[in-house]
Amino acid sequence: MALLEAENITKVFGGLMAVNSVSLTVEKGSIVSVIGPNGAGKTTFFNVLTGIYKPDGGTIRFDGETITGLRPDQITQRGIARTFQNIRLFGNMTALENVMVGMHSRLRAGVWGAIFQTPQVRQEETRARQRARELLAFVGLERRMDELAKNLPYGDQRRLEIARALATQPKLILLDEPTAGMNPQETAEATELIRRLRDELGITVVLIEHDMRVVMTISERITVLDYGSKIAEGKPEEIRTNPRVIEAYLGRGAALEAQMR
């Protein structure tokens, strides 16, 4: 069953076709990668899916419901979470608080509840704190809970972003370059964590990734964008040998050479 169906998504900035009629179908419980050279429109595509940008064309269906044009917080509430390419944590808040912000749409306490500290609100707060600790433990940050997000080492910041996204209780998580800037050891750990998201939590994963080893080992399907358009789609082994993909990445000469061999 398709969890996410994006059809003919188009996004234009001025005269630039950042995303040009891209379609993507993601099956429930799968891990899908979106790859492509720099500036191919991958992040813009993510931003459209999560409502940060309004699409100029196309429709997005998620879990049987059309979510095109909804606000980002509404989309998050419906079960799509994300991380950011250039880590966007709440730097002056602790790791625990970062995760608790992620729970916003799952908690009920309003102004009056907070002011009067009703029993429900206090209980909810205690449970949320507990849940946040569990999520931090899941990504391996239980010892860093009270540290300010900005003081965490880079790899931990990436993990914290994932924990924060998990706090929104997503059905689908969009990871924007989760292993960017990591050494091989960290990359292996991150890859393992991504796999656990799906295997242990049952969350469907779409990731943008540049590290081909990660992409090829983890993804069940791969979609390739170039200049805003989808140029290929398929299983990792199909993508690996697709001449158009090689051309997009390495130029025409390399593509020809690959064909000759």
Binding site: R71, L89, F90, M93, H104, V111, G113, A114, L148
Partner: protein
């Protein structure tokens, strides 16, 4: 030198917790109280004692003693000694009232600027709205708007404190709407404009219908009747004196309520959402925080306190006019928030008190003392008029403070933890000697 510094540090660490903390804190409060009560004349000495006495509140806040004991000491200071001292010297109670009013405003603005990170330069507008609300409705001015209408009864003041809260909230939302899409500098400029609009309306809305009485302002604003309880509690005092204590207690009550509400909001889902917006609004919205609603909420909550305090302010002054609510006032309140430490509740309280005292007491006193020296012909050139340079000194202090404590004097706890590792070393230093000890660092 080094040895004594170490020694001082060790002693202060010991003083900071356990029994010594209780003894030191209690002694400090008792001694400053006794000194204050034995110096009731307005003078330089009393000024200094008064400041030391108020510093006791900071010591109470910072010392590691039981919460209940802190409460008792704070009550002794704020509800016992200060009002009693006020019956001997009206000037210092007036200072305390002003401080309470502005601390409340600083706390309200802190919600908008400190928590949610929305730079608001027109905050005083909400204060004005509250003040004019009570000013117009409690005086014959109401008949100018609705012929035949009579002013509301003075006792309804209490009701109007709540209505002021509500009206402040509504104005907060109204003025919040146009600026929702703006950030940073743009937001600051637009709020500045909106604040000015309110002031200009106050100046010019004497025509075609006389609503605000223009630049003449509204006089004889009603005051709530003096409760008989207070008369009974303070026998042998004139009504005017008791009334001032009454106002002081009311200002303190509104302030107390504000502190409680702000504190609880900060440590809740709502407060976290505000801070998330301040830190990164794109990430916040992507995490499911409805930023439009939360921003409006911040404006509304911040404005509500200003509205209520405006009502109280109008009743206290019994006269209001537009210049009270000018841009400089907004900036002054912002300075309190920034000086104290953005997003920090103790910071806003400290900043509000400090700026008010500097403005009304410390700087004028310095100018006065310098002028006295000048009259005696000591060391001060003829062309230098200390009174004229008061504000320059204030500006200089602001600059120095921001250079040496960029995060504010009492930054938000979380931020403080990473700035200084030595936990609580300086706490009792403030209690036993108010001079910041530069030597030990």
């Amino acid at each position: 030198m080094n040895k004594t510094a170490n020694h001082a540090q060790r002693v202060s660490v010991q003083f900071n917790r356990g029994l010594p903390a209780y003894v030191a804190l209690t002694l400090y409060v008792l001694i400053t109280s006794a000194l204050l009560l034995s110096n009731t004349r307005t003078s330089l000495l009393t000024d200094i004692i008064f400041v030391l006495f108020l510093m006791g509140m900071l010591a109470i806040y910072r010392a590691r003693v039981a919460g209940g004991y802190k409460l008792v000491l704070a009550a002794v200071v704020l509800l016992g000694v200060l009002p009693y001292f006020g019956t001997r010297n009206a000037f210092y109670v007036e200072l305390a009232i002003q401080a309470a009013i502005f601390v409340t405003l600083a706390l309200g603005l802190n919600v908008v600027v400190g928590f949610a990170g929305l730079l608001d330069l027109g905050y005083v507008a909400f204060f004005a709205v509250g003040a004019y609300l009570w000013g117009i409705l409690s005086t014959p001015q109401i008949a100018q708007i609705a012929p035949g209408a009579s002013p509301v009864e003075p006792w309804m003041f209490y009701l109007f404190l709540a209505i002021g809260l509500l009206v402040g909230t509504i104005f907060g939302i109204l003025l919040g709407f146009p600026v929702l899409r703006l950030r940073g500098d743009y937001l600051a400029i637009v709020t500045l404009g909106l604040g000015e609009v309110i002031r200009v309306l106050a100046v010019n809305l004497d025509r075609p219908v006389n609503i605000t009485n223009g630049s003449q302002g509204i006089k004889d604003v009603a005051r709530p009747p003096l409760p008989d309880v207070l008369r009974a509690l303070m026998p042998g005092l004139g009504d005017a004196q008791i009334y001032q204590i009454f106002i002081y207690l009311m200002a303190l009550a509104v302030l107390g309520l504000t502190v409680l509400v702000v504190y609880r909001l900060k440590n809740s889902r709502v407060g976290r959402a505000w801070e998330a917006i301040r830190e990164d609004d794109v990430a916040a919205v992507a995490m499911g925080v409805p930023i439009v609603r939360m921003k409006l909420l911040a404006f509304a909550v911040g404005a509500s306190f200003a509205g209520a305090m405006g009502v109280l302010f109008a009743a206290k002054q019994q006269f209001i006019n537009p210049p009270t609510f000018d841009l400089l006032r907004s900036i002054g309140i912002l300075a309190m928030v920034i000086l104290g430490g953005m997003g920090s509740i103790p910071g806003a309280i400290f900043g509000g008190t400090l700026v008010t005292l500097l403005d009304l007491q410390i700087l004028p006193r310095i100018a006065m003392e310098l002028s006295a020296l000048k009259r005696q012909g000591i060391g001060i050139p003829d062309w230098f008029d200390p009174a004229q340079y008061q504000r320059a000194l204030f500006g200089l202090l602001l600059i120095l403070m921001m250079i040496f404590r960029p995060a504010g004097i009492l930054p938000d706890e979380r931020r403080r933890e990473e700035l200084s590792e030595g936990e609580g070393v300086e706490i009792v230093e403030t209690a036993t000697s108010p001079q910041p000890e530069a030597a030990s660092s």
